[in-house]
């Protein structure tokens, strides 16, 4: 690529890594089928029945039977009901899913610690060097799939390649219970034959634009110059130019940094007075603070979330020039945010306090205890209440 006086070398492909992407097949729905064999062969939709919620819910997952009717995740439960009225609507049992997900992760950990979970049901594994000393990533993927089946009686699909981007495409290629291996020598052909919407980052809007530009497949994309793609799609164009050439150097990140830490509580008895709200905020900030210090994090932005009796939900954030960690300061900011937007007359059913913009706690600005006397007075006051 040439820009002005500058010439940039063509990017080069790194095929030295061995990456596996494992994706549990229709995870939540399959768990429900496992728990209740009567569901086998019936369309299962993980969402509360729209009749119970007044049509509010969203589909978390649908099994393959339900997908035949066009039901898919993130669709409104109401729409799913219209498409598949005899579908089995089941509210999610997320504690169970989490527990199974942890069991699956134990299987991964037998082979490598380089695990990057994307959600409860999928993860990237870098097995370039692995605990078993195995050369073949394909063999590892097969073993993992078998061990998951033996341990939790659920099927998974796996993709094997030399980077995360292709591995994920591969796991999606044969589902359910599939294993697709795309070695470096086949990668370019595979990518060129791919429909353009399969490329990560190409959403609804950019798909339209792609079609306008007569780009329908990887091959069409491959023919475009880097400058042209950057011109039309900015940073995504830069990345797509590389992806279609099989280049994606993003590492598997076993310790994805947490971006925020928060706590929220739902109140069965609607809060109707300000002192109640303030007392709950104090409880929440204490919990958030202890979680922050447990995770050795501090952040600069405090967010409160309020859900009123009528389900209207509002949030408000405040970014400070310094890190908050001290619980008095956190409480003070949360309280101020409440004073700014809170409407006690509407009745409060849920409160949340979150600290975002987290950085690892490698240092801490020591704060002068200016309000120490004041804070202890306040605590006495609330106790008297």
């Amino acid at each position: 690529m040439d820009i002005g006086l500058l010439h940039f070398d063509e990017p080069k492909r790194d095929t030295s890594r061995k990456i596996i992407h494992v994706d549990m097949d229709a995870f939540f729905a399959s768990v429900e089928e496992r728990e209740n064999p009567n569901l086998k062969g019936k369309p299962v939709i993980i969402a509360r029945h729209p009749k119970e919620t007044g049509g509010k819910g969203v589909v978390a997952t649908a099994n393959y039977e339900a997908r035949k009717y066009g039901v898919h995740s993130a669709m409104s439960a109401q729409r799913a009901f219209e498409l598949c009225p005899h579908g089995q609507f089941i509210p999610g049992h997320f504690d169970l899913y989490r527990a199974i997900s942890a069991q699956v992760r134990e299987v991964f950990r037998r082979y490598t610690d380089m695990i990057e979970p994307l959600s409860l049901d999928e993860a990237y594994l870098d097995v370039t060097s692995n605990k078993m000393g195995l050369k073949s990533a394909t063999l590892i993927a097969q073993r993992i799939q078998r061990e998951i089946w033996e341990k939790v009686h659920l099927t998974s699909s796996a993709g094997v390649s030399y980077n995360k981007f292709i591995a994920k495409l591969a796991s999606d290629f044969h589902k359910p219970a599939g294993l697709t291996v795309i070695p470096p020598e086949d990668a370019l052909q595979f990518l060129r034959e791919l429909p353009i919407e399969k490329f990560y980052g190409v959403g609804k809007k950019s798909l339209e634009k792609m079609h306008e530009l007569n780009i329908f497949t990887g091959e069409d994309l491959y023919q475009r110059s880097e400058l042209e793609l950057i011109h039309h799609f900015g940073k995504m164009g830069y990345s797509l130019y590389r992806k279609v050439r099989g280049i994606d150097n993003a590492p598997v990140q076993p310790f994805r940094e947490r971006k925020s830490i928060g706590k929220e509580d739902t109140y069965h008895q609607i809060l109707r007075t300000e002192p109640e709200v303030i007392a709950e905020l104090r409880k929440l900030t204490v919990k958030v603070q202890s979680s922050l210090s447990k995770n050795q994090k501090h952040g600069k932005t405090v967010v409160i979330k309020i859900r009123y009796a009528d389900f209207e939900t509002v949030t408000k954030r405040m970014t400070l020039p310094h890190y908050v960690r001290d619980k008095e300061e956190l409480f003070f900011q949360a309280q101020n945010l409440w004073y700014e937007i809170g409407m006690i007359e509407k009745g409060v059913r849920l409160l949340g306090v979150t600290v975002t913009g987290l950085d690892p706690l490698t240092f801490e600005n020591i704060v002068l205890p200016l309000w120490e006397a004041e804070a202890s007075n306040k605590e006495i006051e609330t106790e008297n209440d």
Binding site: Q296, M318, L320, P321, H322, F332, Q333, N336, D359, L361, T362, F363, E364, N365, I366, V367, L368, P369, L370, W371, A373, E374
Partner: protein
């Protein structure tokens, strides 16, 4: 209203009053400047409702070349009125209010006519009882302001900390500012009548007001008069009245925060130390952690900064003397820079008690009149 005046004399006063006028006010008339002409001279008023400034130009001061042909009052848009006056061609200028508040400004052959507003619509400034006043030495008070405002908070999350706490008692004035990471405190003596000395005042004045006040204070003036009411303060020099709102709320008791013990004391030339800190902070500013580390040993004092993203720096710092134990601690270099600049060129002592306790900077020539306190950064 009609008057003629020497343009530069008028412009100086205009600039003073302009300090109180904000173009971003929600009250339209406050974008204007009020001019009153009476038999004694001109009074100019500007306000943003937090600060109000009133300047007087007396007719008797001949250098003003002020002639009042007709008394009266008008409010003019401050921003462009100021621009017009600045750009007029002649040494003198004439302002005359015509029909329906239209106002003409003429100087030699240049003539502007601008729309004014009825001065009766301008809000009234507070009336402050001038009986309870006392005098402050201008030069020292300016120092007090410049040395303390640096530590005031610029963030509205704790409004009271955006102010300077001024306590007057026992014939001295104590000024304190803190943003909870650092603190600056200055004490000056006051000469008071025995009756005044009986009284105590404890107020919190917005730092912003004091910064503007310091700019209007001419070095030629010797004293400034200060008057306090429940929610206002008035500073008065011969021809300038400066009103500021006071901040509500209780200022924290800061006296207990200043350590009275010292484990390690080092004497530096403030200016030399400032140079070293400035160099060390070059990289820390680029990195995520704005922290530098100071290692104090009897034979060697070292300052270092490490920002994993950019690189690291190390420097041996020149010092005059050191007593006490060796100590290692980290701090935000920006706080240190502000504090050192407030000392200017003089020898100072930096006194440490522990790596996680506040340390203080004081003039080397002992005395408690000026203290800068900085909290260190705990590293993990």
């Amino acid at each position: 209203m009609k008057f003629t005046i020497k343009r530069t004399a008028f412009l100086n006063r205009l600039a003073d009053v302009q300090r109180a006028i904000s173009s971003r006010t929600t009250i339209p008339i406050l974008t204007g400047i009020k001019i009153i002409a009476d038999r004694d001279g001109l009074t100019l008023t500007g306000s943003d409702s937090d600060i109000s400034i009133e300047a007087f130009i007396p007719i008797e001061e001949e250098s003003n070349q002020l002639e009042i042909e007709e008394t009266g009052a008008i409010v003019l848009q401050a921003r462009f009125f100021n621009e017009i006056v600045r750009k007029l061609p002649e040494e003198t200028m004439t302002v005359e209010v015509l029909d329906r508040f239209q106002t003409s400004i003429t100087s030699a052959s240049a003539s502007f006519t601008i729309n004014g507003i009825d001065a009766n619509n301008y809000p009234h400034l507070p009336v402050i009882d001038e009986n309870e006043s006392f005098h402050l030495p201008v030069n020292l008070f300016k120092q007090v302001i410049n040395q303390t405002v640096i530590a005031a908070s610029s963030h509205e999350s704790r409004p009271i900390l955006t102010g300077i706490n001024i306590v007057i008692e026992n014939e001295q004035l104590l000024a304190v500012a803190t943003d909870s990471h650092r603190l600056s405190q200055r004490v000056i003596p006051l000469s008071m009548t025995p009756e005044q000395a009986q009284k105590t005042y404890n107020v919190v004045i917005p730092a912003k007001s004091l910064i503007e006040l310091a700019k209007t204070l001419e070095d030629t003036a010797e004293t400034i008069e200060m008057m306090v009411t429940e929610n206002q303060v008035l500073f008065k020099t011969e021809n300038l009245y400066f009103y500021s709102r006071l901040l509500e709320g209780r200022y924290p008791d800061t006296n207990r925060l200043i350590p009275d013990q010292t484990a390690t004391s080092v004497e530096f030339d403030a200016h030399t130390l400032l140079g070293s800190i400035e160099r060390a902070s070059l990289l820390s500013h680029e990195g995520k952690n704005n922290v530098v580390k100071l290692s104090v040993n009897p034979d060697r004092i070292k300052i270092s900064g490490n920002s994993p993203e950019v690189g690291n720096v190390e420097e041996e710092v020149a010092f005059k003397s050191m007593t006490g134990e060796s100590i290692d601690l980290s701090f935000n270099p920006d706080y240190m820079k502000d504090a050192l600049r407030a000392f200017g060129q003089m020898d100072i002592k930096v006194k440490f008690t522990s790596p996680v306790r506040p340390f203080i900077l004081v003039p080397a020539a002992e005395g408690k009149e000026f203290i800068q306190l900085i909290t260190p950064v705990r590293t993990f």
